[in-house]
Amino acid sequence: MSASLAAGLSDEKLLAAVAGGDRQALRVLYERHAPWLTLRLARRCADADAVSDAVQDTFVVVWKSAARYQGGGAVGAWMWGIAIRRLIDALRRRPRREFHSSERIDVEPSAEEQVLLGVEHGDLAGALDRLSSELRAVVQATILDGLTSREASRLLGIPTGTVKTRAMRARIQLRKEMA
């Protein structure tokens, strides 16, 4: 289909076209989703090459398995699920060092940010930010990204047991803060 036609279609319709072998549709999906996927992956992995490989792999997988997308549930979330697993795969193929989400000097969230977080006094947000970077990385991987302990261990480059321990410590700390 033509580029202008494709640009107006919903993600679901584009996926259906991709399942039918339409490369232009894949291109539009790429232009829409590759940027935010790249940014989000980059926050889980400092290795820029692994990130671009993972994004590439993601769209190759989308090309091949578009027909298997069941619908219901955002296309974005489906793609993220593929992308994070492709990143784990890409990391497995490379020599690794452990990744920490970088340290930040804590700054009180602005009023706008608090509204954004749907939180009145910054309880959860603050508590999360007060976790050490290792604990926060585990929370990000298992809760936000929905990975299993095994997958999280591969992503972060730490043993599965350590993932579980850190997840438990994070939970304990958060509960203590929120109480």
């Binding site: 790429y30 671009s52 969230p109 977080l117 947000a125």
Partner: protein
């Protein structure tokens, strides 16, 4: 569901300046919001995204390597050579299948009688030769004319193909030999002859047309097999220790001739 993200916040996120819970929140929103996805797309460097797309297109276009090609790649053969070799007729699934069938029949025959064993030994000795001859075959390599007119040395291609076909066919014959009744030296008696015959044919092909070289060597050797069996009263006479030694000499001698005269294998010129 979540409220929209202000563009400055998004820009800060794109710049890597937002961490922790605030970042999570943004991400949880962006994954399902088309407008914010579009806003992020505007923030990322387009050239980088173009390059990424070009790489993806190339991946989609790149032919899927055939099994043989992947196997060669794992053995450390450079990609482009693996592609060339994978197109060798005598490495195709159909050819290898035919070889397997031929060996199977020969093995069955060998289980029946000593004559069958002789048949097996001849088949096992000649199959590698046939595989290498096929790599030369004008009839079997359809791209022949274009290949000759290309700078890649046809001789080199031929020798590469020989180097790939020989071990493959010999391995198959070897596996078949393991299923022979009563193992022992006899089961491997075809190995040296197969190497010797192949090298001799290649060496001869530097003097005469390949079809004559391969055909002549095959016919000549089969004649020797028959006559020596009759003459010595022993069916397997052509495979005895004397013959094995002779083949070592032949292989070495042929190898030297081939090494010295390999450029004469440039057969295109004798179309």
């Amino acid at each position: 569901m979540s409220p929209h993200v202000q563009s400055e916040l998004l820009a800060a996120y794109a710049g890597g300046e937002i961490e922790g819970a605030r970042a999570y929140s943004i991400e949880a929103h962006v994954v399902e919001c088309a407008d914010c996805q579009a806003a992020v797309a505007r923030l990322v460097e387009p050239a980088r995204m173009q390059r990424g797309w070009a790489d993806i297109e190339d991946r989609l276009d790149t032919p899927r390597p055939a099994a043989i090609e992947a196997a060669l790649g794992r053995l450390g053969v450079p990609g482009h050579l693996a592609r060339l070799l994978a197109a060798t007729p005598s490495l195709s699934v159909s050819w290898l299948g035919a070889v397997t069938v031929a060996l199977a029949f020969a093995v069955i025959a060998a289980h029946e009688s000593e004559r069958g064993l002789l048949l097996f030994l001849c088949v096992a000795a000649l199959l590698p030769l046939a595989g290498v001859a096929a790599a030369f075959g004008r009839g079997l390599d359809p791209v022949f004319e274009i290949a000759v007119a290309a700078p890649f040395s046809s001789v080199r291609l031929l020798l590469l193909r020989t180097a790939a076909v020989l071990p493959t066919t010999i391995a198959l014959a070897g596996i078949a030999a393991l299923t022979l009744p009563g193992v022992g030296w006899t089961a491997a008696a075809w190995l040296l002859p197969s190497l010797g015959l192949t090298v001799m044919s290649l060496a001869l092909a530097t003097y005469v047309a390949p079809s004559r070289a391969f055909g002549g060597v095959t016919a000549g050797w089969l004649a020797i097999v028959v006559f020596s069996a009759i003459d010595a009263g022993d069916r397997l006479a052509a495979f005895d220790s004397g013959a094995q030694v002779a083949f070592v000499v032949v292989a070495l001698g042929g190898g030297i001739v081939l090494a010295l005269r390999q450029d004469h294998l440039d057969l295109g010129r004798t179309l």
